[in-house]
Each structure stands twice: as C-alpha cells, then as structure tokens.
Symmetry: C2
DNA sequence: CGATTTTTTGAATCATATCAACGTACGTGG
DNA sequence: CCACGTACGTTGATATGATTCAAAAAATCG
C-alpha cells in the first residue's frame, strides 16, 4: 500500500492500524529532490530525517583536497540524515544529496519524539532500525579495518547487491574507501 | 552508588527509582573474568550481553593468517557482546576476552526484552545507547575510509583518551587498522 | 550526433605492511 | 638478589598494495 506503512508493519511486533498510520503520516512532509540537489550541506544542522519513497541518495565528506568520501548510500525504504547533527543540533560534517530524482518523507527531531510517544509501533520500528544499523555498521568497520580491497568489494556485493545496480562504480569505490582505479582493477582480476 | 543505577539514571529522562532498580538488577547475573579469559569465542552464539563494572575487554576477529583484528575495546560502563549473534542467535565471527581481570553484569536476550517491557527507564537507556553507538560508528567509518594513519590516531586520541591509558599501543594500532610498527612511527613523527 | 560521465589502463609514486633484530621493562621463581 | 621469560615498543630494510596522474576507450544522455 504505502511504503512507510509496509515498513512499519514489517518491523513492529504489534503492527499498525490504518487509522494509526494516518496519524503517523501526518507528522511527515513530502519532499521532492532533483538529481544533484542537496538534502543537507556541510555546516548546516540536519533538521530533518528522511524516509526514501523513491530515488537514491549519498552522504559524503569533502576533504581538504576536495575529494569526496562517501560514507553512506541509500535507496527506497532507507532513512537518510546525519544522526549526530540531528540529535545534538550541531553543524554537520557531511553533505547529503540526491543521486537520482528522489521523493522523501521528512520529519523533525521534535516530531519523531512526539510521534514515538503516541505510537508504540513507530518506536518499535525505529528501535529495530537502530539495532540493524548497529549490526551493519559493525560489519562495515570490521571489513574496513581488516580486509584488503578485493575482500571489501566482495563483501559489499554480497551484502548490498541492489546498490550495485543503482550507483556507478566510482561511487561504490568511494564508499569502500578505495580509488575508482583500484576497484576497476579488482573487478578485472576477479574474472 | 551502583554503576548500572547511575548509568540508567544518567540516560533516561524519567530516571529510575531505587525499587525499580532492584527489579532491574534481578535480571542480571554477576560474572568474573580473569585476564585473557574468553567471554565469547568465534563460532559460539553470544548468549549474553555484558555491562562492565570493572576491567577492560576487547572484541576481535582472527584472519586466515592468524592475525588478530580488534573491532572494539571496552572498559567500565560499556556494554560488550556481538549484537548480530545476540539478536539472531547465529554463530559469532568474533572473540571477546578480558584484557584485565574484569567484573560484569550479564543478561540474556530474552531477559532484556522482558525487562524492557517492565521498565521504561531501561528501554530509554538502551535506545540512547543504540543511538550514541550509531553516531560513534558513523564517525569511525568515516575516519577509516577517508583518513590516513596519523589522522586516525589523532581522532582516536581525541575521542577516547581514557582508552589510551588502558591498552598497550599494539592493541590500539589493531583497533585503528594499522600495524604496530606504523603506529610507533606515527607517534614519533608527531612530536 | 556531440557532450558528458564513467571505466579502463599503464607508469610512477606513496603509504603502509612485513620481517627481523634489538632494547627495555616487568614479574616470577630460584 | 639475580636470572630468566614474556610482553611491549622501536627501528631499519625491503616488499607490496593502493594511489595518483594522464590518457584513452567505452557507455550514457539529451
């Protein structure tokens, strides 16, 4: 039916009624982003978290040499935002922009907190999201401190086959912390 | 008073009463570990999460060449365990052992869930822990995909000055994903 | 079709790893 | 008190994996 409805239903034990979902939906605002448009710019406070209905986005830092380092990729049914800036209302170190034209549901921190108080299923869902996120982050950290480029890439393929189709290779390379040139060579070597 | 009591009080909006805390404490079991003793071994399911009352621990993988890669360090007031194995009851890819003699409060997954239902302050606390953890992991990922050895080390010093005093240099090096030799050279270079 | 983005490739270079040796400190048992 | 083992840190020489740069090829898009 509605992607967010399905998302909450699949992740909360109790599930959510159609009526409750209307209430939940009321807390979100729809937002359209064109390709390359910023959702968040370095130095700004991340006022909104976004749930992606359609599209693809990237979160990245820019170093002193101007090189981009992609820390997160996201597509449909993923959340985007800089958690640190969102929670503490501090200037973000990241940029987030749309890689494709995308459509989001956005919500402020204040509203998330209020919504959590009114809707148990929503809390359960966000808790589960945090839990899964922690697990995924742990894996990524393990991979990035202990595995060479080739292993990092195969781990990625296994874990996120859907992302490979959505982003070009040089973006994936940056996400993995290796250069596009190296990733190209790794792929050839694997055949 | 009691480290876990203080921990919950500092992290839940409402706080916890002395009476409720007795109930919480009842769900935990005290566990002593001698230096080098395993808390979790690769291949086993992580049945318990632990709250460190006293001591220091490390979580690591062992690669095919027998080298250890430290993915997490923990001291007093930190939680230890492999979240993925704990949540899904799958064999863990990690070892966790005591770096010093340590004293823990441990709890099963089932009891965490039950306790969460009975004590709102406990839920709030674990939610906050997950949130902070996500933020910290994000930082670590950013650092590890984009920064060279020296920056990674200075980031670490800034973020966890207390850990530097508790673990020898070669352990820190492994945590940062660099060799002990390189860390030694980095330190000299910084003076 | 031209323009832009993406991928590939080779050559030179750089950061870090590896290996081996040595120095130091600490603790334990004789 | 000494002798020994163990753990830790440093250092130099060498090896290696990955980066950088530049150029060209290939794919994509309006």
């Amino acid at each position: 039916m509605h992607p967010l409805f399905d998302y909450i239903n699949a992740r909360s034990k109790s599930g959510i009624s159609a009526g409750d979902f209307e209430m939940v939906k009321g807390y979100f605002t729809r937002k359209q982003l064109r390709k390359k448009q910023y959702f968040l710019q370095e130095g700004d406070v991340c006022k909104y978290y976004g749930f992606i209905l359609k599209g693809a986005m990237r979160q990245y830092t820019v170093d002193d040499k101007g090189a981009e380092h992609i820390v997160q990729l996201a597509v449909e049914n993923w959340w985007v935002g800089d958690r640190e800036s969102y929670v503490f209302a501090t200037p973000s170190a990241y940029n987030i922009d749309a890689w494709e034209d995308t459509e989001l549901l956005i919500i402020t921190r204040k509203d998330v907190i209020e919504l959590a108080e009114r809707c148990p299923a929503f809390i359960e869902t966000t808790r589960l999201m945090d839990e899964r996120n922690n697990i995924a982050n742990q894996r990524r950290i393990t991979s990035s401190i202990s595995a060479p480029a080739e292993k990092r890439y195969t781990d990625f393929l296994e874990c996120y086959p859907n992302l490979v189709e959505r982003f070009p290779q040089h973006v994936i390379a940056s996400y993995l912390g290796i250069s596009k040139d190296t990733l190209s060579r790794v792929k050839r070597h694997r055949l």
